[in-house]
Symmetry: C2
């Protein structure tokens, strides 16, 4: 099937960070897409400012992937593609936020798909979950961290006590903020994304100028410190919610209590919480930007538009099931409190190639125990060591071992 | 369109907690589904042990929703429906984990959809995100908290220092655990769900007996205490990951470091983290069980199977945009450190109907400031109060106000 699959021709508009990442990803994953769709996707042409002729690319493509950004000429190209009966995938938030109704109407009129997961929150599947998983559900409220630049800056201010200016400069050095950061730090970028999410969740037209927004430029490190005393952490939050039968869509800096699902979203990550009386809430989180990340969102849309999967495809892999895996462990030994016990434990561990990472001794005499964590090792080695230790006369009960997923090893 | 939409007939198998919730939800949401699908969904018949005749229900339905659970007679009914060319939606994890390949093959053969979001992690959209958003992506690892009973028990043990037995009894009282909790606490339920997720993510057949599992029955409160000293929290984690070109699928109790995306999932919630080199990771979380929650997942599948949305439907709502909303606030006032200032602030707040929730005074003399939070109030009232206070001579700079989302008000 892989050999003989019919090609599916994708015209790629734009070859910046996301466009180039998408071209690479598509080439890598084409083989895996054949069994899902029955078709082999390939790039049929690339349009940039300096290369490609759009009418030729359009004529030679089954689908257009628009990654130019901005309104012109993206809008015209997308409309032309749909008029020609081609599906379109885009990651262009300004285009959707400003011209969404026009484009969706064109998609309906011409019976084509217009998919745009990458336009909001990168690879976080907010668009698909709102418009498909929750299609027909009553959404009451959406809260989102939909701008990674500001979330990174606020995370750094909280973590290191940096001023806004210092944290912004650090974000610029790391590529998390543009040289001109205005659109991100003012909340304007987040406002466009919230307009798109609100349109989909609340089935009502939302224009960009109806979204109130406020940025993070005025936030000071001591605001964050004082609020921490109150158990609160600061985020730039987009909100879209029903209010007295109407709708409010807005973006501001907000303090969240520690247990809020968005409170633990740090650094350049994005997340969206969708609330509905029937479900309490769903939270989706992941990287909000970046070439390969956004390209992954685009690829998911491309596969869906190639052929909506009627069902689960036949497996093409026969991966072997692996029995013995590497894990870090917490180990607890109830031991006799006498000299030399730790040395004996350490010797057995050493023989199996196990290495102790941390150790706390608790209690005395008949109540003595060692609680330790060990560095990752094959589980068979850990079992062997625990069996050996279990036979020692200094042990008062069976050793206990529980796996650990640790930051360093995950 | 609402008036004249053609009916779409759904045969409902099973009328337990989820079945009854689905029937209610479908009736409530039918109007909202018409503009999405062009069809009006309705229940054409209900099959339970004591009522309904399956051949009649099948003949009179466009789709079958199977919420009986277990293998027999669910398997036969689902196969019969697909053979008759009807789409099927199910929330039956045992059916998928044990007979998935047979059922998916039947769906492909008969060109029908078989959707099963509700079978894993309730309304958490793990199935759709893995098989659609990430279709064609290379998944490296999945970690999941896919059993709400055990997550609730472990959360309670950690929070209150209860023993396993006490926490289990509490879970049973609240309906989070069955009278016979074996399938949940042994890890067997989670193993079935991980088998389904692994099949989808790794495109390889995974049978239930290939999934190793270990439950939480042996966990003690002091394991949890000791590990907390090491910065670790305990969860029952399902893992499916590539290992040396093969696949490992397993369920065990695992200690997670505090920053892991699953560490903050408490109580009966479920969550799934999907890792891939291109995207770092996506995390999805939400209620893992419950009638309305699982029924919401089923409804999303039903709408998708009715007609895969070719594009965004025309809006049917024209919600009014609300400008003045209710928010809690953090307020910071740089004030002259002299008697009577707090009384004046309190008076202005009182005039606008604002109520102070917490107040901390910082600094002395020229460096004095009040940091407070206020209970939720209309933003226009807060602005008015701050404008009035801003005019007082005891104020050394413009008041600062930042919104707060607090546990009590969210």
């Amino acid at each position: 099937m892989t050999e003989t699959a019919k090609p599916y021709r994708i015209g790629l508009l734009g070859h910046g960070t996301v466009g180039a990442a998408f071209e690479t990803l598509l080439a890598e994953r084409a083989d895996a897409i054949v069994p899902i769709t029955g078709l082999r996707p390939e790039i049929s042409g690339v349009l940039t400012r300096s290369r490609g002729h759009y009418p030729d690319i359009l004529a030679g493509s089954d689908m257009i992937v628009e990654l130019i950004g901005g309104i012109d000429p993206a809008r015209e190209h997308v409309l032309a593609a749909m008029q020609a009966g081609k599906h379109v995938v885009t990651a262009n938030k300004q285009l959707l936020a400003q011209c969404g109704e026009e484009l969706w109407a064109a998609a309906r009129e011409h019976g084509v798909q217009l998919r745009f997961e990458g336009s909001v929150a990168g690879v976080v599947p907010a668009i698909r979950v709102i418009s498909e998983s929750l299609a027909g559900s009553h959404v009451e409220r959406i809260h989102g961290i939909v701008n990674g630049t500001t979330n990174y800056i606020l995370s750094e201010m909280a973590r290191s006590g940096l001023s806004y200016e210092e944290a912004l400069a650090g974000a610029q050095r790391l590529g998390y903020a543009e040289a001109d950061p205005h659109e991100d730090v003012s909340g304007k970028d987040a406002a466009a994304k919230m307009a798109i999410l609100a349109r989909l969740a609340f089935d009502t037209p939302v224009s960009l100028d109806q979204v109130r927004y406020e940025g993070i430029e005025q936030i000071t490190a001591d605001d964050i410190d004082y609020a921490r005393e109150l158990g609160l952490g600061l985020k730039l939050i987009g909100t879209a919610e029903r209010v007295n039968g109407g709708l409010s869509v807005r973006v501001h800096p907000v303090f969240l209590y520690g247990g809020h699902p968005l409170a633990s979203i740090h650094g350049p990550f994005n997340a969206v919480t969708i609330e509905s009386p029937a479900i309490t809430e769903i939270t989706l989180s992941g990287p909000g930007a970046g070439g390969p990340q956004t390209a992954t969102a685009v690829l998911g849309d491309v596969v869906s538009a190639m052929i909506p999967p009627a069902s689960v495809p036949e497996t093409t892999q026969r991966l072997e099931m692996v029995e013995d895996v590497v894990s870090a462990f917490y180990i607890r030994l109830e031991v006799a409190d006498r000299p030399g016990v730790l040395a004996q434990v350490a010797e057995v561990f050493g023989l199996q190639g196990l290495s102790i990472r941390s150790l706390v001794q608790h209690g005395l005499g008949d109540d003595a125990r060692m609680v330790m964590t060990i560095h990752p090792a094959l589980e068979s080695k850990v079992s062997a060591a625990l069996q050996l230790i279990g036979r020692q006369d200094f042990l008062r009960s069976t050793p206990r071992a529980i796996r650990v997923i640790d930051e360093q090893f995950s």
